[in-house]
């Protein structure tokens, strides 16, 4: 499947050439699904803003974003790609800044814009390097070129910087946790579901163009994947805000995807095509899966926030009773993101696990050790994600409402415009989870495409498809068994008394909903365990005296990469600039002195 579409386009180096190959098809699938679902959802979601704000601009940029996304993943020309890439960045900016009266929204959008644009500059360098080596600005011509290892390594490094910022790979992710909560929910869904995936697409495209990359690239990808996966989920655990938490989970999932790409690259370098296909295919499948379930989760979060007007988890609770449909759909998303069987997340994680174990058994020592680390971190990510989503689901939907202000009438009506897309996405989660063959086939096909396998070369994929089919049949047995147990339970309880009462409260009296474990206290054992990494801050809460009065405790988690890397650098630069500015204002002579010295310098430099 390689179709190229050419139009006349007259700009320097530009060439309006679109290309459809397995890689772009996979991303396009995700884009189409999510753009449509989020769009439909937006109709219902934005209704609450109607009248106060003009929605025309929002709709315009939404459509622009959709177009840009499509062009980005199909562009075959550097200029076209970069152009679409910029348009993508700008339109996302405008979508995020929708509620610009809030300073936090403005700040988030600003951060996003800067990150996106600075990343793009790295891409400029990278593409020019490639174009210079290949002598063409078209991707398919570049792919025919043999790059020298140094050039290939440099390109790869720049790609990691440029695309990594967009994708939100760990140290470059700082814009992501701010941008997602700031945007309207359907935009966050789109942002997390497909916009950040364009970064992954970019890395994939580079992997495809540069057929031979040095070995260290694979290791770097693996390490980055591990770090951003684990750090992402740890930071997610420390969050109180629903959408911010989901945003950090995007970082985690990007980590998983990068992990898969790393395995694929190692496999390709060590002539292990099966391993390579597993890695790339798993990563690509996870791209699709993540966009589906993360989209679902963000839409669900949006439905909650629309009705309760807060995303603060410790203020919510008991919504499963008032919003049963939304809570059920959210549960599906939560199960999927934890990679639990029945749902799509498991399939892609299974393939990546499979690849990691293959790498462990087949790769040379350092590769094997990294694979082992990868397995461990993936397992850890799974367990932590589980902790995190039980926390989310438990505090938001289960238990009792923590604030009396929460709506209590039963059930809250959610607009069908919002429910239908969520149902579609949840259905897709289940479909891929219970019938993985079509999507996995597509993704593994993409993986094959990435290793430049000749179309007829035989890579026996049954080794992965057979376990998958067994998994699926086991899942069906599981469902049957659950049904059987449910029937048995019903039969046993049918004739017995089933009184309804209070929860057993261990003999306490005057139990109020505020007794409930909050999300922060739920996560506390883990966040305490890694508090050095999370820069955990806790204020108050020290009880003293026999009759302690009212106490307050608050805790917050700070992003290490933001606090320790970017902020100091930027602050330093600003301070430096301020200092220069002051001296400049004070003395006019300095103006002249600059010219004088410059002249003298040029004379001394050039005339001797």
């Amino acid at each position: 499947m390689n179709k190229t579409l050419e139009f006349l386009w007259h700009v320097p180096f530009g060439d309006f050439s679109l290309r459809l190959d397995p890689l772009s098809v996979l991303f396009l699938t995700a884009i189409f699904i999510l753009v449509l679902c989020a769009g439909i959802y937006g109709v219902g979601y934005m209704r609450s803003y109607q009248g106060g704000k003009s929605l025309g601009l929002h709709i315009f940029f939404y459509i622009l974003l959709a177009l840009a996304l499509i062009v980005v993943v199909t562009a075959n020309n550097v200029i076209l790609f970069l152009g679409a890439w910029e348009v993508l960045a700008i339109s996302v900016y405008f979508l995020i800044v929708f509620q610009d009266e809030k300073p936090s929204v403005r700040r988030a959008a600003f951060l996003y814009l800067i990150a996106a644009h600075c990343g793009t500059f790295c891409l400029f360098l990278m593409f020019f390097l490639m174009a210079h080596a290949a002598g063409s600005m078209n991707f398919d011509v570049m792919a025919q070129t043999n790059f020298s290892p140094v050039i290939a390594g440099t390109i790869f490094f720049l790609a990691l910087l440029g695309f990594g910022v967009k994708a939100g790979i760990f140290p470059m992710h700082i814009w992501l946790p701010y941008a997602h909560p700031a945007a309207p929910s359907h935009v966050s869904a789109l942002l997390s579901g497909v916009a950040i995936k364009t970064g992954i697409y970019g890395i994939c495209r580079i992997l495809w163009i540069i057929g031979v990359l040095p070995d260290w690239c694979g290791y770097v990808l693996l390490i980055l994947g591990i770090v951003s996966g684990v750090m992402g989920v740890l930071y997610a655990l420390g969050q109180h805000e629903l959408k911010k938490l989901l945003a950090y989970h995007s970082i985690e999932n990007i980590g998983i995807i990068v992990l898969g790409l790393g395995i694929g690259l190692l496999g390709r370098n060590h002539q292990m095509p099966f391993l390579a296909v597993l890695g790339f295919g798993g990563a690509l499948l996870h791209v699709f899966n993540h966009s589906v379930f993360k989209g679902l989760l963000f839409l669900g979060a949006g439905a909650v926030i629309q009705k309760t007007h807060t995303g603060e988890m410790d203020h919510l609770g008991g919504l499963a009773k008032t919003m049963p449909l939304v809570s059920g759909l959210f549960l599906i998303g939560a199960l999927a993101i934890c990679g639990l069987p029945l749902l799509n997340g498991f399939i892609s994680e299974f393939i990546i696990f499979f690849g990691l174990f293959h790498g462990l058994l087949g790769l040379p020592l350092q590769g094997a050790v990294l694979c082992a680390l990868g397995i461990l971190s993936l397992a850890l990510m799974g367990a932590l994600a589980l902790a995190c989503f039980t926390k989310v689901y438990g505090t938001v939907f289960l238990g009792e409402p923590r604030r009396p202000t929460l709506p209590t009438e039963m059930p809250i009506k959610t607009s069908p415009w919002m429910i239908v897309p969520m149902v579609i996405l949840a259905g897709l989660c289940l479909w891929v989870g219970l019938n993985p063959q079509p999507m996995a086939g597509l993704a593994l096909g993409g993986g094959k495409y990435l290793i430049h396998a000749a179309p007829l070369s035989v890579i026996d994929l049954s080794e992965i498809f057979i376990p998958l089919s067994v998994v699926v049949s086991c899942t069906f047995i599981l469902i049957l068994l659950m049904a059987f147990l449910a029937v048995a339970r019903w039969a046993l309880l049918r004739s017995r008394p089933r009184p309804i009462s209070e929860t057993w409260n261990c003999g306490f009296s005057h139990v109020t909903p505020r007794f409930q474990y909050t999300s922060s206290s739920f996560a506390r054992p883990i966040t305490d365990f890694v508090k050095a990494l999370l820069l955990l801050n806790r204020h108050g809460g020290k009880v003293s005296g026999e009759f302690p009065g009212k106490m307050q405790i608050s805790s917050s988690v700070h992003d290490a990469s933001e606090e320790r890397m970017f902020r100091p650098v930027f602050l330093g630069l600003t301070r430096f600039s301020k200092k220069l500015e002051e001296t400049r204002i004070r003395y006019t002579q300095i103006y002249l002195m600059y010219i004088f010295f410059f002249l003298i310098f040029l004379l001394a430099w050039k005339l001797k």
Partner: protein, 217 residues
């Protein structure tokens, strides 16, 4: 004639150096006037063998404009604007004279590798004009008052004019360019004076922002 030209050139540089050592604005203006007179003389010396009317006009024009008119305007300005005549250079007098000497040495050093085409009347014109330009520039850099900066610029401009004189027979159009620069300078001075008068009027509120705006005036 060459001796006279050489002597004038040296004198011009010496006067520029003298400005570096002067700290009263009145003194600087006087030195500048003297320098401009010498400059007018150089033109006559250069063409002593066949003096044309044009040469005399330009020479007298230079003397009149720079030697009389500009100093007069400046004196007028100082009197009317009551400019503080004490000036405080950025670097001390000793240092500025030493660096001035160094600049002169540099100008001669640069001139070593540059040979004027044709048969130059005097080989001192090029280094001396360069030195004057650099010294003028240095005065601009080291002095803090607007008037002294203008004077520095005028000195620099004198150096350029001296250089243009040496090109007189090579490329006659050059001298016209030099004169254009003179006109430019005249407008420039006018602007400063307007500026200064304006500042006098707005003295009171401006004192607040003084520290912010720098110490130009």
């Amino acid at each position: 004639m060459t001796t006279w030209i050489d002597a004038s050139c040296i004198f011009i540089v010496f006067l520029s150096l003298g400005i570096l050592a002067t700290y009263r604005i009145v003194g600087i203006i006087k030195i500048f006037a003297a320098q401009s007179f010498v400059l007018g003389l150089v033109l006559i010396f250069l063409h002593a063998h066949n003096l044309s009317t044009r040469d005399i006009v330009i020479s007298l024009g230079t003397m009149g404009l720079k030697g009389v008119l500009v100093p007069y305007i400046l004196f007028w300005a100082i009197r009317h604007v009551s400019m503080r005549s004490e000036i405080k250079p950025v670097i001390g007098f000793g240092t500025s004279i030493v660096s001035g000497a160094l600049l002169i040495a540099g100008a001669f050093w640069i001139s070593l590798s540059l040979k004027l085409p044709g048969k130059p009347v005097s080989d001192l014109i090029l280094p001396c004009s360069l030195a004057t330009v650099l010294l003028g520039f240095m005065i601009m850099v080291t002095r803090t008052r607007a008037v002294t900066q203008v004077l520095g610029y005028l000195i620099m401009e004198n150096g350029i004019f001296l250089f243009a004189l040496s090109l007189f027979d090579v490329m006659p159009a050059m001298i016209e360019l030099g004169i254009l620069l003179d006109i430019f300078v005249a407008v420039f001075i006018m602007a400063i004076i307007v500026n200064n008068i304006n500042e006098e009027f707005e003295q009171a509120p401006a004192s607040v922002s003084r520290s912010k705006m720098g110490e130009t005036f």
